[in-house]
Structure formats: C-alpha cells, structure tokens
Subunit: 262 residues, 2 copies
C-alpha cells in the first residue's frame, strides 16, 4: 500500500495511491482511517511531507563503502562503528519533494547528498526484539541527508552540517511491506545516476536499529529512523542542480538546489 | 507572567498562575488566547510539560567550571568550545515535574543531574541579531539534562547518555521577562543543595545561542534551547532519590528517581 500526504486548495489530507489515483482518507495511517473520501488525480495534488516526526533518528555511519570513501577523501582512518549508536536530526530541516534545498550563503562547501531508506514508525513501541522490530513500522520512505562537509568537520556537533533549514528532504510516499534489507536506492543529480547501492549492505540492519532504540526509548507514530547511505556522495550540489533520490516503489524524492544570496 | 500547562480530570489546558490561583486560558501562549476561562486552585491541577518542542536544542558545554570539573574527573583536557555549536535532545525523553526519572536496568552509571535554564521560543523567527534574539522568546523554564556518564563516553553519539525515556525533566512553569544572564539555578538532591550557579557565567549567552541558531534554522513556537549547566553534577542519582532544579520565580522541577527492574 502507498500512503501520501497531500494539499489541495489549502486542505491537507492523507491518501492512498493506486496508479495515478489518490483515495482521500478520513483519518490518518498513524491512527484509524476510512478510505471513503473523494478521489483525486495525483498531478492535481501538492505532495507534502509524509509525516512530521516528533523524534527524528538517523543511523549515520551504516555502510562500509561510505566510511572507506570518507576516510580516503579526508586522509582519515575512522573505524566502522562498533555498535548501533543512533544520532539525531531536527524537524526544522525537513522539506517535501518539490521544495528547494537552500545552501546558506556562507557555506564553504562542499554540500552533498546522501540518499537513504527511512523507516516510518506507525505504532507506539518499547522493548522490541529484532524479530518483532518491523511490527511497529508503518512503511518506508526516502530521505536525502544533505550535508555540509566543512561544517561537519569544523563544528563540535552536526547542527549546521546536517540540520540547516531545507537540508532534510523526505518523501514522496510511505510504502508498506518492503523488506528493508533488500532494496536498491539510487540518487541522480541533473538526471545522471551518481549513486546506487543495495540496503543489504547495512552494517546494522533496520531491525537491529529499531530494536536497539526501543530498548531505551519509546518509539511513537510518525517517528522516523533514517538508515544511512553507502558509497561516495559526489559531486557536490550547486545552485541550479536537481537532486533525486529514487526507489522503484516509493518513487522519486526530487529537490532543486539553490544558493541563498545572503 | 507565569504560564503553565495542566490537566484536570482528563482535560488539558494552559493557565496563568497568580499566587496559588490558575486562570484557565482559551487558547495557548504560543498563539492567541483569552484568559476568560474558569479559575482553579493550583494544588487541584496536575502539572504537565509546559510545551512539547518540535525542535529540542541543547547548548551542551556552556560553563567553564563544568568543563574543568569534567576534565579533572576524567583525566581529560577538553577545551572550552570555540563557538556556540548547539546539540540536540529528543522529545521522547521529556517528563513533567512530578514524574519519575527511570534509570535503565543495564545502566553502568553514574547517572547525574544537570540543572539548566531553558529558553522557550514563542514566535517563528529567522536571522535574529543578538540584540533582537529575546524578541522570539516567550519565557524561561527549567530543565534537568540527566546524563548517563558511562554511555556518554562509550557511545558514538549521546543517544542513550542523554535521551533515554524520562531523562529530560522540564518545567514546571514558563516565566516571562527574565534576564537570562542574571539568574541563579540551584539543584537539590533529597533536599540538600548540591549545585548552585549564576547564569552570568555562560561562555556563550542565551542571546548569542538564539541568534546563531536562527541564522541557519527557523525557530518555531514551542522550540526550546537548553543553556547548559555549571560546576560538578555529583552525587550520582540512585533509586529512591528526589532531585529538584530550583529557581526563585520558575519554581521547583521535582522528580523522583527509580531504577528499572529489568
């Protein structure tokens, strides 16, 4: 099933997508709903963020080839993490598919994409085993963990590197029933594929991350867990670019890039 | 003015406190409101979190004596931060005054308090100068940045060290019009004052933090900025303790401590 959140003439609603047709929901996939509302043609609707997370978790380093590439570029020798310690992002940075990524005027750069698979939590959960972990997942969406690499090195935290306004595109849809370890995530810049990887290469599985988080923290409907990216994340994004994170069923998370004037 | 959020017989509302009397608000201090509702006696109401932040910022290291103490204990030589790089906490961890802090069963400890002054954002804001910074602040509350020191050292991020469920008591009230650089924050454990410091010793002022954050991120009503703690944070909290963060006007943020059984 494919859920989306849409706006039409100022009205905001969830819908279920079938082909190019959206059945409007009375309610939301995070609670109860009836699919008895009007039907819309997809192109007539503005896509919104599929959810606004109260808690926004991000795996960070979760693929070997990305760590090796980052080490090589920086002349560093950062080891793969020994355990699944999750990081945070901040909802201020979220934008939907179609909205612009704005590079701050004073960013030294490079600013890079990171195409990611994202788990969307559907049910309140605590203390799940790995076997139970996916029971609390409503479905899967895409994220672009846009990163300012100079600030990632210079700042004590990742605040500007990862959380500037517009640095966290997410969407376009939430797709249920995917096996998170058997997906292919591709990223295109200006139509050219610049990254493509299989989620089976995660260092710590989606199930492991969700189980481990839930041991210490209550997961809430609408929370998200971004699962990291693999391989290089070049070329750097620049004013006028269009970056797309792509998945066969979730669709295309497409964002133009602009540079702020001041 | 003193704002609080309360529950009575399942009903949740904001109120303005005068003495021991609470005037119920129709609306909220984060939007528009009328103070035309019923009046309640404070002891008849259950205090709730004064707000649920969408974005939860924390200054981290912002006082010299705390850094020096932490260095001495750890045999470390961490330098004071060169710039105001803000960190994050996660709303899952928030609890109101009166709720228990639960130490996870597998926590090696020590688990310690950090009494803090907290800025509560009242208006959407971007690109504020330091002079303008306080214009977006609704008022001030208290926070207890409960920290698991072993996990703070062992984990790649602060996720468990700072964000386990119940590790972020906040409240009890939001007080308007305070000068954030001229306050005294005290912490008591089992009635004994264990920490007392003046906010004038912040390395980076509240105004500087808010201005700097707003240069890259939109601040939203209900967002909070925790401003760090000074000095030692001993003794460690243990099952059966009561920890209180205290301020003359904001009041007492009081939380019992329990240790989870498994």
């Amino acid at each position: 099933m494919k859920f989306g959140r849409f706006e039409q003439q100022g009205r905001v609603f969830y819908g279920i997508l079938e082909g190019e047709e959206v059945s409007e929901l009375d309610g939301s996939p995070f609670g109860s709903y009836r699919a008895s509302g009007p039907r819309h043609r997809l192109p007539a609707l503005k896509p919104l963020l599929p959810c606004i997370p109260a808690n926004f978790y991000a795996a960070g380093l979760n693929y070997l080839a990305h760590i090796e590439w980052a080490n090589k570029r920086a002349g560093a020798s950062k080891k793969p993490p020994a355990q699944a310690d999750v990081g945070y992002r901040s909802p201020n940075a979220l934008v939907a598919s179609g909205e612009s990524i704005v590079i701050p005027a004073d960013s030294p750069g490079p600013v890079e994409y990171e195409g990611e698979l994202v788990a969307v939590i559907g049910k309140k959960a605590r203390n799940l085993s790995e076997r139970e972990a996916l029971e609390c997942v409503l479905g899967w969406t895409l994220g672009n963990d846009v990163s300012e690499r100079t600030w990632q090195k210079s700042d004590r935290t990742l605040w500007r590197a990862k959380n500037c306004d517009t640095f966290k595109p997410m969407g376009p849809l939430i797709v249920t029933g995917l096996d998170p370890m058997k997906q292919t995530i591709a990223t295109r810049v200006n139509g050219k594929v610049v990254s493509e990887y299989d989620t089976g290469k995660m260092l710590f599985s989606a199930q492991h991350y969700i189980s481990r988080i839930s041991r210490y923290m209550t997961l809430h409907p609408g929370d998200v867990v971004w699962l990291g990216t693999d391989g290089p994340t070049e070329p750097a994004l620049k004013d006028g670019d269009v970056v797309e994170v792509c998945h066969r069923e979730i669709g295309v998370l497409r964002n133009p890039v602009v540079r702020a004037k001041s």
